[in-house]
Amino acid sequence: MDPQHEIAEIQAAQGDSRRFTPLYQRYFSDIFRFILRRATDHELTADLTQQTFLKAMLALPKYEARGTPFRAWLYRIALNELRMHWRKRKEVVVNISFLEAKGLSDVVGLPSEDERMQPLALALGRLNAEKARLIELRFMDGLSFAEMGDVLGIGEDAAKMRTHRVLTTLRTYLVQRA
């Protein structure tokens, strides 16, 4: 997707809400999958996705393109919707496939064998929500550090540094368990 073309589309949608449809069509799947990874239920995911796009449309006049993809801005809104949904819950279960966890297990130096995944899941569960979010965005959603920064409202360097710190913490938890 050509960034200039996308900026033109965003500007058109800022002037006329009906022209938001191409952006909605393009990013619906991405946002749906992003929410589904954390919400598990399709119906709930559909509601939260629709709510995300509604909030995006309402906030679009204030949107400023700052070099990061529009997708990251939508992820940020989606994450806020999820946080609001989770507010009343005591526990959230995140389902991860071996394939998604492989990148993370490689980075923390775990052999990606089935039996070694359980300690990784437990170590992830020990992280607080803010730290866990960094790992999810990087390894499960596959976001760049710049996109992560945009989603979390921090700079790219801060996202990079914090992620490395969390990875160190994860390694410590895994060593403690071993």
């Binding site: 809400s17 629709q50 509604l54 526990e91 496939s97 995944m117 990784l120 569960g125 992280l127």
Partner: protein
């Protein structure tokens, strides 16, 4: 809120494009957006001059009525006191 992770061979079931397309509804989005815009731009009652006047008249009427009710109660009280005094005389 506590977050728990479950790592399994399949993880969560990835939906197909066809499954996602079922939930894609741009018309509904535009409709919801227009509804939300109407609600957002709805003038609060105290900022609408006509509604404000109606509200003011209602409040004034309520005040006048309550005052009159108070007055009549007081005059009834004083009437009974006077009657009681004349009776005892």
């Amino acid at each position: 809120m506590k977050q728990r992770y479950h790592i399994s061979p399949k993880g969560h079931k990835e939906p197909t494009e066809a499954e996602i397309a079922k939930y894609r509804d741009p018309k509904k989005l535009i409709h919801n957006y227009q509804k939300a815009q109407q609600l957002l731009h709805k003038k609060p009652i105290y900022k609408d001059p006509k509604a404000f006047l109606v509200l003011l008249v209602i409040v004034m009427l309520a005040y006048i009525l309550s005052e009159r009710a108070n007055d009549s109660e007081q005059s009834e009280d004083s009437d009974t006191t006077e009657q009681f005094e004349t009776d005892t005389d």
